[in-house]
Subunit: 363 residues, 2 copies
């Protein structure tokens, strides 16, 4: 086995989920990532935790969804019971074919997501990590050979996470006490939101591996303005291009896309909360130096801001603050490398992708 896979597994078990012998852990991976599941299983055995390791077939999910009547989805009680009884989750992605769900009707997918919402919510207060295996389908989508993509993925994961944490802490200290954030890019994006009372979180590779962002929650009703997401969003094998959202009083009042606008609409129509922002994130991982059509990596790029419609991440919303609820959490990315700035309480903290605390910043 490629030794980088064992390193990846060790980080997942030791750093990200910090497993101990009392933990019941659920490992989910696609068949394409079986090698990583094997390496994680081995490390779990060394640690002494109790695993349930499950390879998830997207081909089976597609077959089930296409054969189903979208009116009929119920929350599977056995999956919910397992999730509630588990202590930690290692959730691995990796596709032989990133378009495997592309011929499932969008309304079926939305209904399926709604029915499974209690299952994903049951995970939320617990230890979990989402990560990526460099499978051939993801390499293809990134327009890279599989070998080159493997190097890209493992370079992003095998970082000095302590140094990364210190670098990002500078942004946490700006964002955490802030009242208002404004994101401007070209003529197409000018968005203001309150983050007053919310908590800015330093992501140094715990719940996401790779990590590399600082994120917080907008106050749900406070978002005003418009945003054009100039990086495409890959969703269930289909690409949403140039997604555009206009907000009034925190709610999406207009939306469009140059490609797959219906898919964007179906996400926004999932429920109430899917039309409001749940996250403002600032990418800070400069080792992720190219866009690969994979939000786990793309949202961490140093020259980007991302916004998620849907569920807010609980640790960013202190008790007593309003928490946006939804069955979805869909991240969309704005390129900030050119003709762009981030303003916090009236002061520019990033211009054209360079932070105030970095060399070359021009305020």
């Amino acid at each position: 086995m490629d030794p980088r896979i064992r390193t990846h597994a060790d980080i997942l078990v030791d750093h990200c989920t910090d497993l101990d012998p009392s933990d019941d852990v659920l490992v989910r991976a696609p068949p394409a990532a079986e090698d990583l599941a094997v390496a994680v299983a081995e490390r779990i055995g060394e640690v002494g935790a109790n695993p349930s390791i499950s390879l998830q077939s997207e081909r089976a999910t597609r077959a089930y969804l296409r054969a189903s009547d979208a009116e009929d989805f119920e929350t599977p009680e056995h999956l919910l019971a397992m999730t509630e009884a588990a202590d930690a989750f290692v959730l691995i992605k990796g596709d032989r074919n990133t378009a495997e769900l592309s011929d499932v009707p969008t309304e079926t997918l939305a209904a399926f997501r709604r029915a499974r919402r209690p299952v994903s919510e049951a995970r939320m207060g617990k230890r979990w990590v989402g990560t990526q295996f460099p499978a051939s389908g993801n390499a293809q989508k990134a327009e890279m050979s599989t070998e080159e993509y493997e190097a890209f993925v493992y370079d992003a994961i095998d970082k000095d996470w302590d140094a990364q944490k210190d670098h990002q802490q500078q942004m946490v200290e700006i964002l955490d006490p802030a009242e208002e954030v404004r994101v401007v890019s070209g003529d197409t994006t000018d968005l203001r939101m309150s983050v007053a009372g919310m908590k800015a979180v330093n992501d140094y590779g715990e719940k996401n591996l790779p990590g590399g962002e600082v994120f917080t929650a907008p106050v749900p009703d406070s978002v005003e303005g418009e945003v054009l997401f100039d990086k495409p969003l890959l969703r269930h094998g289909r690409e949403i291009q140039d997604a555009y959202l206009r907000f009034e009083g925190g709610e999406v009042v207009a939306h469009d896309a140059s490609k797959n606008a219906d898919l964007l609409a179906s996400i926004l129509d999932t429920d109430e909360g899917a039309r409001r922002l749940g996250e403002l994130g600032i990418g800070m991982n400069r080792d992720i130096d190219r866009f690969t059509y994979n939000v786990l990596f793309d949202e961490k790029m140093g020259d980007t801001v991302h916004l998620a419609v849907g569920k807010a991440i609980e640790e960013t919303v202190p008790e007593g603050q309003p928490l946006n609820e939804s069955a979805v959490h869909t991240d969309m990315i704005v390129d900030m490398s050119d003709d762009s700035f981030i303003e916090v309480d009236g002061e520019i903290v990033q211009r054209d992708g360079t932070f105030r605390f970095e060399d070359g910043f021009e305020g």
Copy 2:
């Protein structure tokens, strides 16, 4: 997809587990059987039941077990919770490599089985079916090409199960009211046991697919004599040959094997009940015409009797009768085609593989 796979899936969902929209069903299959998992998922979608579909990696299980300390296994509470909350189970086997667990220490396997016993027991009162996908590893073990093995498997599964049920019912009517059964083969096997008060069950492809046997439970303390299992037993990739057991007062008092005797010993040492018989089964599926090193098929061959050490099957043990408990249920097979007979209450009911109710019987 091979249309025989879809037929197989339909039988599993409609005939074996009889799923309806209220059912939470757990589907487990190895990666090699992903096609069958896909077809089962599709049929579950049509029926409207709620599935959790999980591909199980034996490579991951091996890695976990080899890295674990056998003293440390606990029952995983999340797996138990899922099993308790599920209504039905479709359990598919199929190996790329039947020797995948061959380098896991036998005591580790036994400890693992003990820790997971509550999970398998939680399934027992519910609807479940075990079946086989014709994977390359199983074809190899059967010394058949993959194509020929596929034909063998699907021929055994695509049967007229109503006609098979009627044929087998003749044996049920002999065995169900019986007091004593004697199994004699050559000089090496002469075993007597009481089946008084136990229930003979007609297996026509419900819990096992393929089905094709009539089975009951020996009274645990009643077994006397010796038996040589002349068909090899494949267990975790290792072959136990010429397993020999001698019983006194129902308990194994001597045992041996010409190959992998230690593995046989570890099975018998799992717990108290592993040293007593839990099942007497009579193979009656004449479409299974060759031995393929796979107990699901081998035990159904028309010219065989099988005995299982370990847990009795609950439906064969009426309330008030003694039920043998164990974490294991290991079937072993006696060839009855030559110089052999089965005697029920002093009358010969099968000689040299031919039943009393079949042409060519010589009593």
